[in-house]
Amino acid sequence: MKRAVLLLAGIILAWSYLYAAELEYFQVYKPKEGMSADEIMQIKYFNKYALFAHDVSYTGKAYFIDKSGATRERSTARKRINLGRKSDGIAYKDLTIFTGPTQVKGLCSLVWTYLNVKKEQEVWLWLPSLKKIRKVSQSASDDSFLGGDFSVEDITTRRFDDETYKLLKEENFAGYTSDFMKKTYYKDTPCFVIEATPKRANWYYAKRLVWIDKNYGVNIYEEKYDTNGKKFMTLLRGHEIYKVDGKEYPLQMFLEGRDLRSGHTTVIINETANLDQGVAEDEFTETALSRSRW
């Protein structure tokens, strides 16, 4: 009996260690019953950045819709290569090219993200008006992403270590209806509901409530609250499951953010996605960026 308890303790310890440590790249992780909020959120971040795949390429569009319904549009082509490389500390590299409208066509960004979460990203921009590369500092995490309703950290920079987590409950999600897509998402999907509190003082939100799909460990919906406890932002992340070599990859394909204060909405739709295409790392270099034509 004593031996069994010790064995069990050892297994729990090993399991805890696995999730306390960084999850291994190119694996598929799913939440399990009894996991802590931290363990669930680690899987959530792993999936958010698609670290299960070696590379991902998307084409898509972003729509910015003001209260009156007036809509602006941006189209992009994006690529990511996941490296998780300890030798130079690089986690992954992203390339985003604006393909429309013409005024921003050709604008291109190359971003390198490091394993060390305290290290900022390195960012290079190709500026068509200069036909030249400019290295720039990482955007502030609370800045808006592409001028929309998502913050930069909502999309690119928020990491597991930026918040503390509390598992509030488990429930079936009530569903989210997108006015833009005229569709209801995730109705009755079993979820963990986690409260995420930023570690930074005086941050632009006081807490987030995050709904995590129990089956795939992805964040399907979240709400942001201010210091008065008032909800000011909702964010839906629609996923599709891609089967690659027998593995199930949950990919974010549709995002809708609503600013409840201004009535402004941002929608990002990934129209196409390709995984594990053998994208070469030399496509993610300053040299490659300087070969832009537009």
């Binding site: 549009e73 400019r134 290295k135 300053e286």
Partner: protein, 472 residues
């Protein structure tokens, strides 16, 4: 010869691509814009100085993953030169696009493993500096509107072979062979941004060819014409400009090493032997000289925890070997000779997000002459734009603050560039996105300083401007 060779090579690669690519899978992209640029004198508020309409069309055809053809053409017409007789003297040059300048890009990209070729008419930008050409001297520049347009419109594209080899990740060796030659251009007298030096020369020409009596000039009856002989480099392979850039990364620092050899795009005007028998022509020559540039650039973002975190550092440095350097008497505004000096130009730039949405970008540059004085009589070195006195060490500063509002629909910015001679330019502007395809810009350029300063020479042509751009 080499230019012809390049053209033939491009056609061969182009036709080869056509033969092997499956055209049905080809990918054609076309985009363009119509733009109106309007400016109004800041001093009088009633003098329109520009009413320019521009059409640009660009197209890309992807034959395969390896080869892509890209071309862009631009046409513009500035109506103000037909509307206001004040600008008649400059009209022939300034009211429409000149010669083959309409073809902005025409090249074929070919990628194969570590090799990348770009063959055709193109522009190549070197260096990290913003608005100050330290290493960015591969292409000549069109200064008909001073340094105000975007860099992409300032550079004059040239036919060249741009050959690249990447021996390892993040590194690149670039070789440029440029058989094409164009001189850098300036606005002619009569145009708002004509350089003072150019205007002074034309004043002299007018006096010389007139029937007036002037101190130091022969009597009018003996004077003939003012002739300017321009000696372009002969179109030979040996006269090609050669550029080499090595790009690499050490730790988190990106750097380049650059070298450029060939004919300078600026030719200094010098006095040739005068006629001995009346009518006495005043003969001048403009000869493009061979010179070299060696330098490098550096950039780095401080990403680690610490005081400097979030700061991006940029730097360029170059030495111009045998750079033609004017000297003369600034009081008379005339150059009497040219020295060939090894001058140095370097810059450091710092960029930082000051708050979430405010970005500050500061640059400090120094142009250092090899000698303080030309050592000829009491003559001083001259600023080639104005024929004013040139400091042995010129300190140049710029500060740009930019931000964004209304979900990035409204983007205001202000650029202040100045030197230690209390002269400079302040250029605020705001761009507003009316919809996806329609953009409006409102701005101003305010010049200050003495008439003999680079910016001060335009203190009377400070302006408000608007731009409306429709893209498709």
């Amino acid at each position: 010869m080499l230019k012809r060779f390049l053209l033939i090579l491009m056609i061969l690669v182009f036709s080869g691509s056509l033969a092997f690519a499956e055209l049905s899978k080809g990918d054609l992209t076309i985009a363009g814009y119509l733009k109106d640029e309007f400016s109004l004198g800041l001093k009088t508020f009633n003098e329109v100085t520009k009413f320019k309409n521009i059409l640009q069309l660009s197209g890309e055809y992807k034959f395969s993953d390896q080869s892509v053809f890209f071309a862009s053409a631009k046409y513009w017409y500035d109506a103000i030169y037909g509307l206001n007789s004040k600008y008649d003297a400059a009209r022939h040059y300034m009211d429409h696009i000149q010669r083959t300048d309409w073809l902005r890009d025409c090249y074929l990209d070919y990628t194969n493993g570590s090799w990348f070729l770009r063959l055709g008419k193109q522009q190549v930008a070197w260096g990290q500096a913003d608005g100050i050409a330290i290493l960015d001297r591969v292409n000549p520049v069109d200064l008909t509107e001073y340094w105000l347009p975007d860099a992409v419109d300032l550079r004059i594209p040239l036919w060249m072979a741009n050959i690249n080899y990447s021996p390892k990740l993040n590194s690149n060796l670039q070789l440029l062979i440029i058989p094409d030659f164009e001189q850098s251009t300036a606005a002619p007298p009569g145009a708002p941004f004509a350089f003072r030096s150019y205007k002074k020369f034309m004043d002299f020409k007018e006096r010389w060819e007139s029937s007036g009596w002037y101190t130091g000039y022969p009597p009018p009856s003996l004077r003939g014409d003012v002739n300017v002989n321009i000696y372009y480099p002969a179109k030979q392979f040996e006269n090609s400009k050669i550029g080499v850039q090595w790009q690499d990364r050490i730790s988190d620092w990106d750097y380049t090493l650059n070298y450029l050899y060939g004919y300078d795009y600026l030719a200094r005007t010098y006095s040739e032997r005068p006629d001995a028998i009346p009518p006495l022509d005043a003969n001048y020559g403009r000869r493009f000289k061979l010179d070299q540039m060696a330098g490098g650039s550096l950039n780095h973002t401080f990403t680690e925890e610490g005081l400097l975190k979030g700061i991006t550092l940029r730097s360029d440095a170059a030495v111009y070997l045998n750079e033609p350097t004017y000297y003369g008497d600034p009081a008379t505004g005339a150059s009497v000779g040219v020295k060939r000096w090894n001058n140095i130009f370097w810059l450091i730039g710092i960029d930082r997000n000051v708050t979430t949405t405010w970005l500050a970008s500061f640059q400090f540059a120094q142009y250092i002459m090899e000698h303080k004085s030309p050592g000829v009589g009491n003559y001083q070195t001259l600023n080639s734009y104005t024929y004013g006195a040139q400091d042995a060490v010129e300190n140049i500063f710029s500060l740009k603050i930019s931000t964004k509002f209304m979900h990035e629909r409204l983007k205001p910015e202000v650029l202040w560039s100045w030197t230690d001679d209390n002269q400079g330019r302040i250029s605020p502007k705001a761009t507003y996105e009316i919809n996806d395809n329609l953009w409006f810009t409102l701005g101003a350029h305010y010049f200050y300083g003495k008439e003999v300063d680079s910016n001060g020479q335009f203190r009377d042509v400070s302006q408000f401007y608007t731009q409306i751009k429709y893209t498709f």
